[in-house]
């Protein structure tokens, strides 16, 4: 060990070293020969001859020495590092209080940053869990008048698939829920019907058996199904012999032909537009069969499509090709395709786009918290460096160079930061898990969130960076203090005014950041309150919903099966409304706020037909029983559906519209009695408006209630309905009766997804609640940290100014004056911070605008409250040290010196 302290520059010049040594040898040898009686010259020659090639030996020695010096430097560096480390650990152990405070602060800061980063990384950055996922693209239709992505129709999909040169393996899929009938109780399965190309595009293969072939996707082929790994484990205990076995799906015998790999659940609902009704995780795949009716309806947009870009083809080329294709389709099929475009979006963006902004805002918020935590620790460090000024000066005086001292400090701080990082990673592991449990189900790619090597690397890199910056900052400060002055022994060795200013600026920055976070939380909170106040258009209390899925036979055929479905639902509604504790029972095809919606075109009888592609459209729902009564939707005019609207040929086709529909299409007129030619009916018909009901927020509380049409199920049979029951007491109290009624009617049909309408409304705000919760937690932590920082700076300043305060008090200053002096100091720091924070918030306010509902991103109230709150708590934080300052005994303070 002692060796490494030997100053390296005292070692002689290796060049001279070698030649001197050899010269000495030759001289001694010459003398030996002289003693033997040789002459001067002969002796010299003999010495050289016995030595060998002098120049060669010299150069060999020098090479050896050069390498030796390099190795020694490396060795010294390593030993120095070991020494620095052990010294750092000793120093940190000696100051347990400081170490614990700093590690905890850093650990919390790094921990929550890593937690949020884990989620951001999983959702936005990680490659999707499919082969070569960067090349996967979703294909959508776009409409001139409508925002967003529209599905494809089967004929359009087939045309695109056959004509594209930029995409390979373009697969189509749509939701196809099913009921598994083999168990004791029928069970709903999250199923999807897909073409073979979907698997090819994703590059996945079955781990047992195989996926279906194109031959199995034709009408009349023996039905087959592929299971997900989790379904396979859950129902068949991972038994490989399940392949080849027949199971009962929706009343049909279906042969299982394969099991997909663990974790494969494509498509996952949260990554796709909610209107497609794709389940959160798909667990059953069946072949998507295009029958003659599907091939004939170019206007039925119900397919999603995923494809793989060919190698070397960019997204722009695909967009261009599809754009041209859309134009061709529009000329070829003006009736269905006028005004429709085609577009692609990478699967990764498809998943990330809806949440990108929210996640980035949360990420920035958490980085703010980390910055504040760092500022606090930096303040602690600066204060401690000031206390250690003497130690450092002694080491400098003993010959340690500035570089050596800086290295020691950096090592110390990296050790500290890595301790924080270790704590942070542990926190992140638990934090990410806890956060995922809190995350609403609508978060895309929640399954892809994991603490992987990238997350660890980023966490550790962050920690190392924090450590290096801290170390260098403290080293710079330490160097600025002159060695001689410090050693001369002034006990007020607490740093000059510049250092105090630095600490105050750090605290002001902390306050500014917390003001910004507080404003962000305030804006989200205020829009959340407004969202909760939005009346959904129905009365959620006491109502409960549950899905019922009737078997649809070999294929969806309402003309043939419709009467059966209608009979079933009519009978079920009758039994339900008679059940004890039930006030009203109804059913609907698209339950509001569940993500489901259906749109259809229509024309108003007696008005000129609009040009192709510019027809009228509105959302519609098929309803049964007393749906309006069960949901608590108000009937404003006319009547609800009743016995008159049975599906027999005698009944007049009818429709009920919403208030918004009536106002939009019949302004200043009575909509009742008007007739609509519906384009969405399975049997196009002209329907008479018999009633007007209140508006309902179908998609989200934050979105306007759109015009809506309701059609009786008896006239437009539909096999998938959500039953809504209004109970007289607790909503869930009606469920057993509901189950019993269903069982009595048909024991093979399951009641799925039972949920209170209350919860449905609450869940529709889950994401907003989640964002608000996180931002509020971050803002609160930020504020707490900033106040601790402020307290620390003021307390230190009071401690340093004891003497000055003592003198003031001795000279007759009142406690009140001292109090004001200290409070003013705190107020100055917080005022700077608050104003900077307000300005900062204004500057970035536009970023949060998209997340707000009914609140301006520059809402004066929110900004004002945030400023006042921070000012008030800052005052409280300053008050304790200020009180202490007034307690300074003048004589004690003077005697201190």
């Amino acid at each position: 060990m002692a060796r490494s302290f030997r100053p390296s520059d005292m070692r002689p010049d290796p060049r001279r070293d070698v030649s001197d040594e050899i010269a000495f040898h030759l001289e001694m040898r010459t003398r030996e020969y002289l003693d033997k009686g040789l002459s001067n010259d002969d002796a010299r020659r003999a010495a050289i001859a016995s030595f060998g090639d002098v120049a060669a030996v010299e150069s060999e020695c020098r090479d050896e020495r050069g390498q030796s010096v390099q190795e020694r430097a490396r060795r010294d560096w390593r030993r120095g590092l070991a020494m620095d480390l052990s010294f750092a650990l000793r120093t940190l152990r000696k100051n347990v209080g400081f170490t614990v405070a700093a590690t905890l602060t850093l650990g919390l800061g790094i921990g929550i940053t890593a937690t949020v980063f884990t989620i951001v990384h999983g959702v936005l950055l990680r490659p999707l869990p499919y082969a070569d996922a960067e090349r996967l693209e979703m294909v959508w239709m776009t409409a001139l008048q409508q925002q967003g992505q529209l599905p494809l129709s089967a004929p359009n999909y087939i045309d695109i698939r056959d004509e594209t040169r930029t995409l390979q393996s373009l697969g189509a899929f749509r939701s196809s829920p099913s009921t598994l009938g083999d168990g004791a109780e029928p069970e709903h399965l999250a199923g999807v019907a897909a073409t073979r190309a979907m698997f090819d595009a994703l590059g996945v293969h079955a781990i047992v058996g195989r996926v279906f072939t194109a031959e199995e996707a034709v009408t009349g082929a023996p039905p087959v199904a592929v299971l997900s790994y989790s379904l396979w484990q859950r129902h068949y205990g991972g038994d490989r012999s399940v392949v080849g076995r027949q199971i009962t799906l929706g009343g049909k015998r279906v042969t299982v032909i394969g099991v997909m790999p663990q974790g494969f659940a494509f498509p996952r609902g949260a990554e796709l537009p909610s209107g497609l009704q794709i389940p959160a995780r798909t667990e059953l795949w069946t072949p998507l069969i295009f029958d003659s009716s599907a091939l004939g309806s170019r206007g039925t947009l119900n397919l999603a499509a995923v494809g793989r870009r060919r190698a070397g083809i960019g997204e722009t080329s695909v967009k261009q090709e599809l754009g041209a294709m859309a134009a061709r389709l529009a000329t070829r099929y003006p009736n269905s395709n006028t005004g429709l475009g085609l577009t692609v979006i990478s699967l990764k963006d498809q998943a990330a786009e809806p949440v990108r902004r929210e996640l980035l805002i949360l990420m920035s918020a958490v980085v703010f918290v980390l910055l504040i935590a760092c500022a606090n620790v930096a303040n602690l460090l600066l204060a401690r460096t000031a206390q250690r000024a003497r130690e450092l000066a002694v080491r400098a005086a003993l010959g340690a160079g500035a570089g050596r001292i800086a290295r020691q400090l950096v090592t110390e701080n990296i050790v500290l930061a890595l301790g924080g990082a270790a704590l942070g990673v542990v926190l992140a592991i638990f934090g990410a898990r806890a956060l995922l449990a809190l995350v609403p189900g609508s978060l895309p790619r929640a399954d892809d969130v994991a603490i992987d090597r990238t997350v660890l690397a980023v966490t550790i890199a962050t920690a190392a960076m924090v450590g290096i910056v801290f170390g260098l900052v403290t080293a710079l400060h330490a160097r600025r203090a002159s060695v001689a002055e410090t050693l001369r022994g002034s006990t007020r060795s607490t740093g000059g005014t510049s250092r105090a200013t630095g600490r105050r600026l750090l605290v002001a920055a902390e306050i500014a950041l917390s003001v910004m976070l507080l404003i962000g939380a305030g804006l989200l909170g205020s829009s959340f309150v407004r969202l909760e106040r939005v009346h959904p258009g129905f009365d959620p209390a006491h109502s409960v919903a549950a899905d019922v899925l009737l078997p649809i036979g070999p294929r969806f055929n309402p003309a043939r099966d419709g009467p059966t479905w209608s009979r079933f639902f009519t009978e079920l509604m009758g039994r339900l409304s008679a059940a004890p504790g039930v006030q009203a029972a109804g059913a609907v095809s698209s339950l509001p706020l569940s993500g489901a919606f259906e749109s259809g075109g229509f024309a108003i009888e007696g008005r000129p037909r609009p040009p192709v592609g510019q027809g009228l459209g509105a959302q519609y729902s098929v309803i049964a029983g007393d749906y309006f009564g069960a949901m608590g939707i108000r009937l404003l005019a006319g009547r609800a559906f009743d016995i008159r609207d049975q599906g027999d040929s005698a009944s007049v086709p009818v429709v009920i519209v919403s208030q918004a529909f009536a106002t939009k299409h019949f302004p200043g007129e009575n909509a009742l009695g008007k007739r609509l030619q519906s384009g969405f009916d399975f049997t196009s018909s002209t329907r008479e408006i018999v009633g007007i009901v209140g508006d309902v927020h179908q998609l989200a509380l934050g979105e306007a209630a759109l015009p809506m049409m309701y059609v009786p199920e008896t006239q437009m049979p539909y096999p998938f309905l959500t039953i809504v029951v209004r109970a007289s007491g607790d909503a869930l109290g009606a469920v057993p009766g509901e189950r019993a009624a269903l069982k009595a009617l048909d024991p093979t049909i399951a009641l799925d997804k039972v949920r209170r309408i209350d919860d449905l409304v609450a869940d529709s705000l889950a994401r907003q609640r989640f964002n608000l919760l996180l931002l509020a937690v971050f803002a609160a932590s930020a504020l707490a940290l900033a106040l601790v920082g402020l307290y620390g700076v003021i307390a230190l300043s009071v401690a340093q100014r004891r003497r000055e305060i003592g003198v003031r008090l001795a000279l007759g200053a009142q406690a009140r004056d001292v109090l004001r002096l200290v409070l003013l100091e705190g107020a100055r720091v917080s005022a700077v911070g608050i104003f900077a924070g307000l300005a900062g918030a204004l500057a970035v306010s536009r970023l949060i605008r998209a997340l707000l509902f009914d609140v301006s991103s520059t809402d004066v109230m929110v900004y004002g409250v945030a400023a006042v709150v921070v000012a008030a708590v800052a005052m409280v934080a300053t008050f304790a040290p200020a009180r202490r300052a007034t307690k300074v005994a003048p004589m004690d303070a003077l005697r201190l010196e």
Binding site: I22, F24, D53, V57, E64, R65, S68
Partner: protein, 110 residues
Amino acid sequence: MAGSDLFTGTLELLVLKAVSWGPRHGYAIGRWIRDTTDDVLTVHEGVLYPALYRLERRELLSEEWRQTETGRDAKFYALTAAGRAQLRAEAKRWERHSRAVNRALAALNG
């Protein structure tokens, strides 16, 4: 590995032995080797120096410039703790080795 062939290995072992009683300079080490081995091993005295530098690099020797008894400046080499351990190990190895070779040669003769 440097010094693994017979000659260099032997030379390094002898150098370590030469300084095992106390620091010596290069000339004295060379002289001791010449005297104790009756010049058998020495081809050129110069090869001693690279060997010294190698041993120093491996931290088996440490070096220091000081004055000789006659008042001359010379570089002295001393055994480090690692060098002493190496000497012990190498000497034992050499003994085993040479015994084995001797036995083998004797057997051949018989």
